[in-house]
Each structure stands twice: as structure tokens, then as C-alpha cells.
């Protein structure tokens, strides 16, 4: 009798080969690769544009410092960047290599879902349809080894697919003269890892569908239906449902927060100041403070409900983590601004562990979601009637 490891390895080996030889996998993976490369190409162009703007800002600041004059053609206390004026104290920041991955982080949940579901939707249903499951089970192997082998084989292919995608992406960066720093490289590597987990989540949904349905057609429809519900419909209805439960947010005070008042004349002012000042009425200030508190309380009550609706959405958690890694639309806001206020800038960048710590719930969820779907697939498969 062969050992457990050998039996499992045999299944994994076959599954791995089946996937990489499968016409449907090759086609979808090529599309995935091409679109990823295209999105990266777009990101690289944006990076270069941002780099040009950065260099322009630096030159202007240096020119202003050299002449000791206010920055030319710039309103006092402000610098101009594409899209507007930035106030005094603004420090331009060199764009990050992570900028290039912005679009990839957006397409990953969509293309990844298609690729992973295509890999998983018929793993068991096809064996039942082709009657190979009975043949397989007549040999010395436990049922759990079959489903585990199929899952491991699929995950390995996902790792290879993402590895290839990121390998090509890094090569494209280097060809485009973008050399990531060690910190950026760590972020890219982590982005690759969460991409793998994201795809594994979708793969687990496909695998579950393949166990639940004997027919592969029904299985693929069910898998995409589930993804549609947990990744799009539920998060979308979360906001209005939370609104219905919690009620409307508090109304904004009608009185403005500031009023412009004539400058107070103080003793010794000669001549009296000419410019008006912003004045805050203590009563108005209190009203605004109360509104702020009520508004915060409202959102504090609303957030758990909206988050609960998105809790099973791998894409939501993937987006949150990507943003924390400075990849993706959320994380790109700072980079799009091209810098930050000197006073607000942290003395040093937050540690990667701090960043991951900030999204530990999302990381945990990204591991728990595939575990749930695998568990359903596993339990159902162990009880499957193979007559």
C-alpha cells in the first residue's frame, strides 16, 4: 500500500497537469496575463507622468530657494500641480513604483474570479458526469485525499499563474526603468500573496459548486451566481439596509461654522488691521460639535451593518488590504496628490507589520472565506452518493 503522501501527491500531480494542459485554463489565463500586462503598462505610464510632475515641483522649489523670491507664477503660499494649487508647506514626494500596480489591483478581482472559477467549477461534477469518480474510488484511496488533492493541485496552479503574472510585471517595471525599493518590493510581494488568496477564495467557490451539482453547466452558473451575490449584490445593498435600520444621518446645522467678522481693534493697534478675520460663535461651535458627535455615532452604528454585508466578499477584503499596501485606488490617493504637508508627514514610513496589523480583520477574512467554501465542499463530497 502506498503512503498517504504518495496517494495525495498522485492526485495533486494529475490535477496540476490537467489544469495546465486544459484548453479553457490556457485561454482564460492568457487573457488574464494580457490584461494584467496591459493594466500594468497603463500604470507604468501614469508612474512616469507622476515622476515628471515630481521633477517639475522639485525644480520650481529649488528655483524659488535659489532666488529667494516667491515661487514664480504661483500664488503666494501655493505651488501648482496638475489639477490645482497646493498650499505652502507642501512637500512633493517621489512617486512609488507601486503606482504601476494600481489598475492591476482593480482588475484582479474580476479576472481572478473568472480564472479561478473556470479552474474549479467542474473538478468533481465532471468526474461524476464521466463516471471516473467511481473508477478512482475503487482504488486504494480515501475520499478526502481526492478532494484535498484537487484543492492543492488547483492552489498550486494559482500560485504558478500569479507567480508568472508578477514575474512578468516585475520584468516590465525593470524594462521601464522603474526599480522598486526593498519596501516597495515587499509590498508587491504581499500584493502577490493576497492575490493568490483572492483567487483561492474564488476557486473554493468553484470547487464547492462542482461538488453540489452533478452537471457542470449548473455548477458554473451557481459559482458565478454566488460570487455575484457575495461580492456585488450584498455589499451594494448593505448601505441602504443599514440606512433603513439606523435611520437618516443627523441634519447638518443650518448656521455656518464660521463667519467673517471685522478685525477686532485692540489697544495699541495703529493703524487698525485691515483684513477681516474668521470668527467662530461659541454657540454655533457647540451646535457643530454636537452634530459631529451625532454624525460619528451614526456612522459607528452604520459601519458594522454595511461591513457585515460585505464580510463574505473576497474582493472587498482584497481592496482594503491593497489600499493599506499603497496599491489600488484607496492607497493611491496620497500618490495622486503627489506629496503631503510637511507637518503632517510621518517621520518614518509605517512598518509593514503596522500596515498589516491595521487590516488584520480583512486578512483573517480572506483566509476564512475560502476555508468556509472548502469546508462545505469537503463535507458534501464525503457524503456524496457514488452509486
Amino acid at each position: 500500500m502506498t503512503s498517504n503522501r504518495n496517494r495525495l501527491t498522485n492526485i495533486v500531480r494529475k490535477e496540476f497537469i490537467d489544469h495546465i494542459r486544459s484548453g479553457k485554463f490556457i485561454i482564460v489565463f492568457l487573457i488574464f496575463l494580457l490584461l494584467s500586462a496591459y493594466s500594468l503598462h497603463g500604470g507604468i505610464n501614469m508612474y512616469h507622468d507622476a515622476l515628471d510632475r515630481y521633477k517639475e515641483h522639485i525644480e520650481r522649489i529649488e528655483d524659488a530657494e535659489d532666488t529667494g523670491m516667491p515661487m514664480p507664477a504661483i500664488p503666494p503660499g501655493a505651488v501648482h500641480i496638475e489639477g490645482g494649487w497646493i498650499h505652502e508647506g507642501w512637500m512633493p514626494e517621489r512617486p512609488s513604483a507601486l503606482y504601476a500596480f494600481m489598475w492591476m489591483s482593480e482588475i484582479m478581482p474580476v479576472l481572478g474570479a473568472i480564472l479561478a472559477v473556470v479552474m474549479g467549477f467542474d473538478l468533481i461534477s465532471k468526474e461524476r458526469q464521466d463516471r471516473t469518480l467511481k473508477t478512482l474510488l475503487s482504488h486504494p484511496i480515501y475520499r478526502d485525499e481526492i478532494i484535498n488533492g484537487k484543492a492543492i493541485g488547483g492552489v498550486l496552479v494559482i500560485i504558478v499563474a500569479i507567480g508568472m503574472t508578477f514575474g512578468i510585471s516585475l520584468a516590465m517595471l525593470l524594462i521601464s526603468d522603474i526599480v522598486p525599493t526593498i519596501g516597495e518590493f515587499v509590498n508587491i510581494a504581499l500584493f502577490g500573496i493576497i492575490s493568490v488568496i483572492l483567487l483561492v477564495s474564488f476557486f473554493s467557490i468553484g470547487l464547492m459548486a462542482s461538488v453540489l451539482f452533478k452537471n457542470s453547466g449548473s455548477s458554473i452558473i451557481f459559482a458565478f451566481g454566488i460570487i455575484l451575490v457575495i461580492a456585488l449584490i450584498l455589499p451594494a445593498i448593505g448601505q441602504p439596509v443599514a440606512g433603513m435600520i439606523i435611520g437618516d444621518p443627523p441634519e447638518i446645522p443650518e448656521v455656518p461654522m464660521f463667519r467673517i467678522a471685522p478685525p477686532p481693534i485692540q489697544e495699541g493697534d495703529d493703524p487698525p488691521p485691515e483684513e477681516p478675520v474668521f470668527k467662530i460663535d461659541p454657540l454655533v461651535e457647540k451646535e457643530w460639535e454636537e452634530w459631529h458627535r451625532a454624525n460619528e455615532a451614526h456612522w459607528d452604528r452604520k459601519m458594522p451593518i454595511t461591513e457585515a454585508f460585505a464580510i463574505l466578499s473576497p474582493a472587498t477584503h482584497f481592496g482594503e488590504i491593497s489600499a493599506e499596501l499603497d496599491i489600488g485606488m484607496g492607497g493611491m490617493m496620497g500618490i495622486m496628490m503627489g506629496g503631503g504637508m510637511v507637518d503632517d508627514m510621518p517621520v518614518e514610513d509605517p512598518d509593514i507589520f503596522d500596515k498589516l496589523g491595521a487590516v488584520w480583520m480583512n486578512i483573517l477574512a480572506l483566509f476564512v472565506i475560502p476555508a468556509i467554501f472548502f469546508a462545505i465542499a469537503y463535507t458534501k463530497f464525503m457524503k456524496l452518493d457514488i452509486r
Binding site: 500500500m1 490537467d18 494542459r21 486504494p140
Partner: protein, 303 residues
Amino acid sequence: MIRTENLTKDYNGVKAVDGLNLEVEEGDIFGFLGPNGAGKSTTMLMLVGMIEPTHGKCFVNDIEVSKDPLSVKNIVGYLPEDIGFYSNMTAEENLDYFARFYKIEKSARKKKIEEVLELVNLGGVTKKAGQFSRGMNQRLGMAQALINDPKILFLDEPTANLDPESVFQYRNLVKRLSDEGKTIFIVSHILPEVSNVCKTIGIIKEGKLIAKGTLDELKKEFSGIGEDQKQMIIEAFDPIPDLTHSDILKIKYSEDRKRVVIESTSDIREDISGILLEKHIRMKGMKMHEPTLEEAFLSIYKE
């Protein structure tokens, strides 16, 4: 070699197998007969460790199957009814995949695959299993059941998809495997197939074993003809007159008296032909009637 004790399988309250007690000796070719839904295949699935019994036990080579299914699977070969193979792989690749579950060295594995493929006339076939005919699939199924050189073979409707030539080859193969000392357990509802190759036969009805014995034993027991009785059928061109003989137990004439069935204690064909000759009756034919398995089977199922 194979033993079941009060073996029961319940599907949603319906007993597919109901308290089955069965024993198959080593080296036997055992035919398990019964109509569709009688519980034959379910019994076989429990014997090969693919489903667990609801109650009772089954033993293969003294191993309790539900307690150690893998050890059982290592010493048995199973040909499921309507077997399926991986359509993207050749016969050799399919067999190699299954053979890897056994502790067979690489070179021995390759040799064994070639050997069993030759045995089922699939040697040198390089096309993918997806392009196989049902007959080829069935033959490949036989090859996969033999890949581990099993002590016991379980064959579920083995001739269902075979053409006459393949059926002939299959019968020879089963006899050859039996000569090698393998125990063979065949499930079928094709009576001639079972009567052709099986040494012992068991008949199952509604999950229960209702008869078991050699072919002759079953025929004698259930055909309605006693062990020491003979049955003759006489046909003539002219009406047959009343026949008398001391050994005749029972005689039945057709309406036109041109056909008569005689049950007697001995073979009295010579005496009867003499009587008919004397009376100038032109005979069309006279034959001893051997009870068939079909008659026995139908008789059992009528009860």
C-alpha cells in the same frame, strides 16, 4: 474468501440490501443474479469498500471491509458497471494514474500496464480514452481491475457493452484468471452469461439472498423436475395415442395430440420410439429437456 453477515444498506428508509448472509469460497467464480434494483451492485459496492453498510459486516480475505477499506482495495480489482475513464488521457496514462496508488515500482508498473493492455487487446492503442467505443472502454475497465494483480475480482455487468467476439474473449479471460486461483465475483442480470462462466450462483431478491448453489443444484431445485426425474418432449406429424410405461410419472398432451411432455423416473426414449413405430406414428422429434437457469430463475421469482 468473501463473507457477509447480516449485511444491510438503507437508503432513505428503503432497504437496498436486507440482512444478506453470503459466503464465497476461494477460487470460485460466483455469479450474483437478480433483476435491476435487487441490491446486487449495492452489495458489491460494500464489498469493495466504496460505501459503508448501514448494519452488518462484510469480510474480504478475512478483512472487515468497513474497518480497513484500503487494505481490501489493495487486494481486489473492481470493474464498475458503465465504467468511465479520463477522456484526455490514453489507456496507458489512465492505467498509470491508477497504478500509482499501489506500491508498484516504476519499471514493474510499466510492464504490468503493457501486460494487462495486451490481455484485453488494447496494446499499442494510442488514442485518448475519450475516443474509445463503449466496448473498448469496458475492456480498459477490465485492464484497470487487473492492474494490481488482485486476489479477488469484482465485475459488475462485465459483458454489458461487449460485442460477441469480446464476450468470447472475456469468458476465456475469466476462466484463465480462475485457473490462476483468483476468486471472481460477477454481478449480472444476463442469465446466459452467468451460466456460462460461473461455478456458483446466488440469487438476490429485494436485498435478500433467496437461493445459492451450483448451476445444476439451482436448476434441479427450482425447475420443478426432481433430481431423479427425466423430462422428454416428443413431437409427431400424426396425433399421438395414449402412451403407457411403468416409469412414467406424468404425461401431458397438446390439444392436437401432436406434442407430448413426459416426466419419468428414467430415460425411456427408446421404449417410447418403439411404441410409436409399432403404431405407425411418424415422429418429428424426441429430446430430453434439460432444465435451464432461466426456468429456475423465473420459478424463484414467481414464488
